[in-house]
């Protein structure tokens, strides 16, 4: 049978990031939101300096910074992947290529900002 073979899709790259981000969000996401929504506001008021210093120290530490980077970057790639596919599902009349470039481009940019700002702490 002489049939031309379809071109290999680049989707595996996006899907791997989506999968890693999804796993990370499933384990750490609820804890993270609980911390910003419930824990931070509930801390005794009056000593902002030490809270700031403590979180700064945590994120300056190589492990803390690395975790924060992956938490942010993988979350951006995971959510963007779902949003791009969602636009396609909703019949939004934009080409898949354009949506892909816009979406993953945004995620890359946001991840770069995260890296720059974390390194600058």
């Amino acid at each position: 049978m002489n049939r031309s073979l379809p071109r290999r899709s680049q989707e595996p790259v996006a899907w791997s990031l989506f999968g890693a981000g999804g796993m990370l969000l499933a384990f750490l996401g609820p804890a993270l939101v609980a911390i910003t929504l419930l824990v931070l506001p509930a801390l005794p008021a009056g000593d902002g300096a030490s809270v700031h210093a403590a979180i700064l120290a945590a994120l300056r530490h190589p492990l803390g910074g690395l975790l924060a980077f992956f938490a942010l970057a993988l979350t951006f790639f995971h959510t963007v992947h779902r949003l791009c596919h969602g636009l396609h599902d909703l019949h939004v009349p934009l080409s898949a290529r354009l949506v892909g470039w816009l979406g993953y481009g945004t995620a890359t940019l946001l991840s770069l900002l995260a890296a720059v700002w974390l390194l600058g702490l």
Partner: protein, 137 residues
């Protein structure tokens, strides 16, 4: 004679059946989580700009609109995690001698540690940060 009726999917296909609506809900969890991640990114920047900037970010996170966003993000991430762990056994096939590891075990093997994280990590943060605040006061 042949004159087939051609199929056409209309834009509201996902609204028309509970299975599709559940799928869309799962996918929609990405939106509040994306916005929440933007808030966290903003926080990282403000963290690096000093105590005043960071306190302003804390106030921003405490504003009514962002509280609503965070509440939505919490619901969204919990629904994401629940649906995610339902799907894990379908992809994670660990062959055993006479088949593969049962799906329920795989699900629990993910869900139990996850729930531990969800509960223990905020408690840890509460303890650590409260300790820091109490110690300096």
């Amino acid at each position: 004679m042949r004159k087939p009726l051609l199929p056409r999917q209309d834009a509201l296909w996902w609204w028309r059946h509970p299975a599709y609506r559940r799928y869309m809900l799962r996918e929609a969890t990405a939106l509040p989580l994306f916005l929440y991640a933007l808030c966290l990114l903003y926080g990282v920047r403000e963290l690096g700009r000093g105590e005043t900037a960071f306190n302003a970010w804390l106030a921003f996170m405490g504003s009514p609109l962002i509280i609503v966003l965070q509440a939505l993000a919490l619901l969204a991430v919990l629904w994401h995690a629940w649906t995610w762990f339902q799907l894990v056994p379908k992809i994670l096939v660990i062959p055993t001698r006479n088949g593969s590891v049962p799906g329920q075990w795989l699900r629990l093997a993910h869900l139990l540690p996850a729930v531990l994280c969800w509960v223990l990590l905020p408690l840890l943060a509460w303890w650590a940060l409260g300790h820091v605040v109490g110690g300096a006061a």
